[in-house]
Symmetry: C2
């Protein structure tokens, strides 16, 4: 499981409680690839964040089910970051 | 070209000038299929709206390039509606 201590690029929100991060891409193809990877992550984990995207930006918005963010939310955020860190390392 | 006079389910906005519509789906697979169809429409038209979605909802947000909505924007909205009307008729 990805390391949640590395979640330093995420903004946290109060109403509703949640966290979000915006990712920028060089082309629509890269944006689409990221969205496809996120779809697989959602299908694998059963967790579906709110996604806002246009041609070269994707904002992932994770809202707390209960009153507070928990392992499911932090885990999804860390695995979302891991999608891109694998690409940078690849 | 789809008929723009049928655009009665869209909300219009002032700041920034635009229009949006929310589509609801029965399953994540249907949501994904709609998003894939929208991606093809964007690649075909070269127009990329802002899309917000979660497991069963997609909100399409079309913002005016200039000060006002024009044929490109109305055309994209009408063709977005046409994606689903074909499915209902099919």
């Amino acid at each position: 499981m990805a390391d949640i201590r590395t979640l330093n690029n995420w903004d946290t929100h109060k109403l509703p409680v949640g966290m979000s991060r915006r990712y920028e891409f060089g082309s629509y193809e890269e944006t689409r690839q990221f969205l496809d990877d996120l779809a697989s992550l959602s299908e694998r984990t059963g967790y579906y964040p709110s996604l806002n995207f246009n041609r070269t930006q994707v904002t992932v918005r994770i809202q707390a089910e209960a009153d507070d963010l928990g392992m499911v939310e932090y885990g999804f955020a860390a695995e979302t970051d891991a999608i891109l860190s694998h690409k940078v390392a690849a």
